[in-house]
Symmetry: C2
Amino acid sequence: EKVVVRGVAVDKDQAKVIVSNLPDKPGSAARVFRALADANVMVDMIVQNVGRGGVANLTFTVPQTDQVKAQRALEPVLAAMGGGQVAIHEQIAKLSVVGVGMKTHSGVAATLFQALAAANINIEMISTSEIKISVIVEQERADEAARVAHAAFHLDQL
Amino acid sequence: EKVVVRGVAVDKDQAKVIVSNLPDKPGSAARVFRALADANVMVDMIVQNVGRGGVANLTFTVPQTDQVKAQRALEPVLAAMGGGQVAIHEQIAKLSVVGVGMKTHSGVAATLFQALAAANINIEMISTSEIKISVIVEQERADEAARVAHAAFHLDQL
Ligand SMILES: C[C@@H](O)[C@H](N)C(=O)O
Ligand SMILES: C[C@@H](O)[C@H](N)C(=O)O
């Protein structure tokens, strides 16, 4: 399937919420997200990598206006689970490259990551699907990140 | 926006490749994915959580037939970067819940995670977008995971 990158989007109104030391057993993620759903927190990106030593780190993004609500919803749940800390960072932005056929080619990821690397923009988080690659970068680099991604995929020449 | 879950998909032909201790600075992710693209490795899910202590763990999934190619492509790159290890696990499966409007509601994530938790199925990785929530579970629990997810979203009653 031909890979076609359609566009680049940047969202600067996001905060990342890092839940660290979550017990890596059934039920942990469920309790975190049930608490967030009950508090009407809008969750965008969720990233959890494999656990180690029985614990895992779970990070998700929310609109900046929901960060306090998210923290308050999580503190009692983490305390009840016997561990786990919440940290919030709002100086971030989400950059997404949208396309089709991206699954069949690690080249799109490579192109985006190389463009950001060349601009010395650090990639804080990565989450992908067949139609979208999203990365979290520092908020003050967001506009530059969007520009270099645009150029890397020749979207400025359409 | 109304949340509508449309379907559940399970893919048992995946292997997860964990790259640990990757230097958390611009260029690391680019070098990993350029090497994979050059080796024609098909990459599906990519998950990278925030780094700590200057290193990050990056995990991605590939078809089981590509795992050896992925390992061989990465070893020289990691050696050249002065660190980083590759580990591969093939007894995994990817379960995805597809829908629309999922961004606006952490309830869909909560429902899926609760269904898996109730079946005592551990969630190894999570990656989401507005239209899809994907989790990695142990391969031998994949069919059961698909059944409980189906039931949780009442897809068996359509
Ligand atoms: C860490 C968390 O995802 C845990 N493994 C769970 O299944 O809920
Ligand atoms: C870990 C990796 O993503 C690194 N931060 C990079 O920008 O390439």
